[in-house]
Subunit: 192 residues, 2 copies
DNA sequence: GTCTTTTCTTAATCCTGATTAACTTTTCTT
DNA sequence: AAGAAAAGTTAATCAGGATTAAGAAAAGAC
């Protein structure tokens, strides 16, 4: 159950068996059924979630009343609303399972206690966050430098398995355009 | 010279005088004249920069040959090309001073050595990265949920001093549109 | 296995912002 | 102070995607 998490941590730092056992004893794995929610607007965001199996999406409802997906969380990713994590503010986001999903929830007091007990975890989270931030930097570049169609072409060329896994309207939302437009550009390619 | 940096670190963790002195002794402050470069395409990105005075911009040249600004670095911000930091890949970005600027460069071996010597720095960088990532998450939401004009209006309402500080074409680039469009929406507001 | 809900497609029209180009103003340089 | 370069403006035309609406197909529910 915690294998994926421990494996992930050990890609960055070394853990003794005792330390691994301590981590497992303090955390709880959660199973979320497809379309179940970990967060929804008005709730307090109190944990960071490691996806050990399945797929999450983070989205908000925009001014026009449409869902706007801003992040996906695949196996091996950390996902939460960092903007309100540990603040006194309720979240404005939805965090929902796209498939039956298993996550390991780290609420902040537990995370801080584990970091105290196992200082390598400080390094682990620092490195994970640096990678996540690097990815976000690249994504902003990607959004600004390419058209919607180019971003879709790139995505389907580089992540064909992912495209299979999510409904098209979610992919369209994540890439920042409408499902109708996605249909249009898909039709364009397969016709000749 | 290092006051801004030490103050920043002390917002997150406590440092003894000895530790502060150690940090200062290992790092070097750099002065970059307006329009000077810290990085340009083909160079290796070997350091993370803390802006203690002035303003940096990070940009790339897109397919059409135009500058696309993806990040600004004001006083108290960390900025670098995390995508290639410490990789064997040369960077593709420009990191340039918008004004005469002073930065404190942390190359990675020095950073790692200081973290070894002063474990609180692990926590410091983790927290700084978490804040930076939270900001990036919000920015992606901002880009996707608002039109170009709305983003400009928001920006000028919330960061009026910043708007004064950068040429309009840089602001337009950062917000993802053309200088012509910015002229247009500015004219619109002041006319009635 | 039918009925319902969800997802995907197609097409017409509309709108936001890009492009191009010419011009004005401001800022550097010497 | 004069000239050159950089930055900002205006306007006409164009294009990439949104919107709206209706229908088709696929997936779930019972």
């Amino acid at each position: 159950m915690y294998t994926a998490l421990l494996q992930h941590i050990r890609k960055y730092v070394t853990l003794t068996e005792d330390e691994a056992a301590l981590i497992c004893s303090k955390l709880k794995a959660l199973e979320i059924k497809k379309k179940g929610f970990l967060l929804s607007p008005g709730k307090m965001c109190r944990a960071n979630y490691f996806v050990s199996k399945g797929l999450l999406r983070l989205y908000i409802i925009n001014q026009k009343g449409h869902e706007q997906i801003t992040h996906f969380g695949l196996e091996g990713w950390w996902l939460t609303d960092y903007g309100t994590l540990d603040s006194q503010q309720p979240t404005r986001v939805y965090l929902q399972a796209v498939e039956d999903t298993e996550v390991i929830a780290w609420d902040t007091p537990t995370q801080e206690a584990l970091i105290q007990a196992i200082p390598q975890l400080d390094t682990y989270f620092r490195k994970v966050l640096q990678r996540a931030y690097a990815a976000a930097q690249r994504r902003i570049e990607f959004i600004y430098c390419y058209t919607d169609e180019e971003r879709y072409r790139y995505f389907s060329a580089y992540f064909p398995e992912f495209i299979q896994r999510v409904p098209q309207y979610m992919l369209a939302s994540y890439l920042g355009f409408t499902p109708q437009f996605l249909s249009k550009i898909r039709a364009k390619k397969t016709s000749p």
